[in-house]
Symmetry: C2
DNA sequence: GGGATCAAAAAATCAGACTTATACATCACA
DNA sequence: TGTGATGTATAAGTCTGATTTTTTGATCCC
C-alpha cells in the first residue's frame, strides 16, 4: 500500500528485516538506503522512524541504523504481523498466533455471552448459518468469509477493546490456514456445528458454555497445527 | 524519553491525542504543529509518521493530519499503552489489560509447565519466595518487584513470543495497581501462596494445575477491579 | 596502562524551493 | 434545477544543501 514514497520503501525494507535478512546488530546507513531506494534522505528518515517505532531498528548517532533482536520487536503491530506472515517464518508466526487465539477467544466468547447486543447475536447466527451453508462442495472462500466474520463479531461483542483489535489478526490466521498448508478439503462437520452452538450459547447468555465450546474450537485449531492441546 | 527532537514532540503530542483532547476527525496542520513545538517541518513530519504508524492519525493531502477513532488505534503498541496509562482513561485501560491478562496468563502458565528450563524454574521459585518474604510489613515495592519478575518469567517460559512480549504490559498493570487505586495494604496471603503453588506446578510439569492456579490469580485480579469473574 | 584530548563519522536538524494530489467551488450544459 | 467538466487554492509531499550535535575510536601525555 503505497501511502507515499516512504510507504513504498517500507513495503520492501520491512519484509526484509522481519524475514531476518539483516541479522540483529546489522548496521544500515540512511544515506546508503536512500541511494538504494532512490529517494531523498528526508523520505528515508521517515521510513526509519516508522521502523524505529516498531522497535525493529534503533538509530544512533555516529553508528547508523542497527537492527534489533526479534525479541524486542513489536510483534503485535498489524503491519509487522503482515510482513512476517508474508515472509519466511510464516509457519512459525501462524503457530504463535494460533496459540494466542486459543487463549483469547474462549474468554472473549464468555464475555460476548454477557455483553452481546441483540444485533450482534443476529449477526452471529447469520455467520454460523453461512458457514453451515458453505461447509460442503468446496466453497472454501465463502466459508472463510463467514468464519472470519463470526470470530470478528465474537471479539467485538466481548466489549473489550484489546480483544476487538485482534479481529484482523484472527482474520489473517484463518485466511492463512485456508490458503496454505491445511484445509485442502471441506471443513470438519463437528467444527462447523460448534460454531452454531457457540452462537446459540451467546444468544442464550450462557457464558460458561460459550467459553467451553469456543475452547473446543481453538483446541481443534491447535491440533491442526500439531500443537499439543494444553 | 527524548530520543531526539521528534521524540520530545511525541512525548506531549502522543498523550494529548490518546487522552482524547482532539476528538476523532479533528484536523491538525503540520506547519502549525511545527510552529507550536518550535521545530522544523522535517522533525514534525517524522513525528507525524510515527503517530500514523500507530494508527492514531491519518495524513492526507489537501486536508491535513486527521485524528482517527480510538477503535482503530494500535492499542497493543507499548508506547500507546504507556500514554493511555498516564492519561485520563487510565482506569479503563487498566481494566482492559487485566481482562487480557486473565485470558493469556493461565494458558501461558500451562505452556510454561511444559517448556520451562531448569533455570527458569529456579528463577520462578526465587521470585515466589521473594514475594513471600516481602508480603508483610508494607514492603510493597520489594513485593512488586518480585511479582513483576514472577509473571515475566512465566510469560517468557511459555515459549510463545506473543505471550513473552506481554511482559512489559503486565509489569505496567501490576505497577499501576500497586501505585494507584488498590493495594494500600499488604497483599492477601492466599494470593501470595498461589504464586508459590504455581511455581511448584511448573517445576513438576503439571500443566493443568499451573493453568488452574494461575486462573485463580487472575480471577482475583479481576475481582479487585470489580470485574465479574467469567 | 589509564585517563584526557582530538578528529572523523553519521545521524539530527534546519531552511527554502519546488511538486503533487485533491477537496471545493465555479461554471457550462442539459 | 441538477449534473458533470473545469479550474484553483491548499496542505502534504519531496528534494537539496548547509549546518549542528553526538559519539566512537584513536592518539597523546603522564
Amino acid at each position: 500500500m503505497g501511502r507515499g514514497l516512504h510507504g513504498r520503501v517500507l513495503d520492501t525494507l520491512g519484509p526484509e528485516i522481519t524475514a531476518g535478512e539483516y541479522p540483529p546488530g546489522s548496521v544500515l546507513r540512511t544515506d546508503e538506503l536512500a541511494q538504494r531506494f532512490d529517494v531523498s534522505r528526508s523520505v528515508m528518515r521517515e521510513a526509519v522512524r516508522v521502523l524505529e517505532s516498531m522497535h525493529l531498528v534503533e538509530s544512533r548517532r555516529r553508528v547508523g541504523v542497527t537492527v534489533r533482536p526479534r525479541a524486542e520487536w513489536n510483534v503485535y503491530d498489524p503491519q509487522v504481523i503482515r510482513w512476517r506472515l508474508a515472509g519466511a517464518d510464516r509457519a512459525h508466526q501462524l503457530r504463535s498466533l494460533t496459540v494466542l487465539r486459543s487463549a483469547v477467544e474462549p474468554v472473549a466468547a464468555g464475555l460476548a455471552a454477557r455483553n452481546a447486543t441483540a444485533e450482534q447475536c443476529a449477526e452471529l447466527t447469520e455467520c454460523a448459518l453461512g458457514m453451515v451453508a458453505n461447509s460442503r462442495g468446496h466453497r472454501l472462500e465463502q466459508y472463510l468469509r463467514h468464519d472470519i466474520a463470526f470470530h470478528r463479531v465474537i471479539l467485538n461483542a466481548s466489549g473489550n477493546e484489546m480483544f476487538a483489535r485482534l479481529g484482523d489478526v484472527v482474520a489473517e490466521v484463518l485466511a492463512g490456514r485456508t490458503h496454505h498448508d491445511v484445509m485442502f478439503h471441506d471443513p470438519d462437520p463437528p467444527a462447523v456445528s460448534l460454531h452454531v452452538k457457540v452462537a446459540e450459547a451467546v444468544r442464550e447468555g450462557d457464558a460458561g458454555l460459550a467459553e467451553r465450546l469456543t475452547r473446543e474450537i481453538t483446541v481443534g485449531a491447535l491440533q491442526e497445527l500439531d500443537i499439543l492441546a494444553p
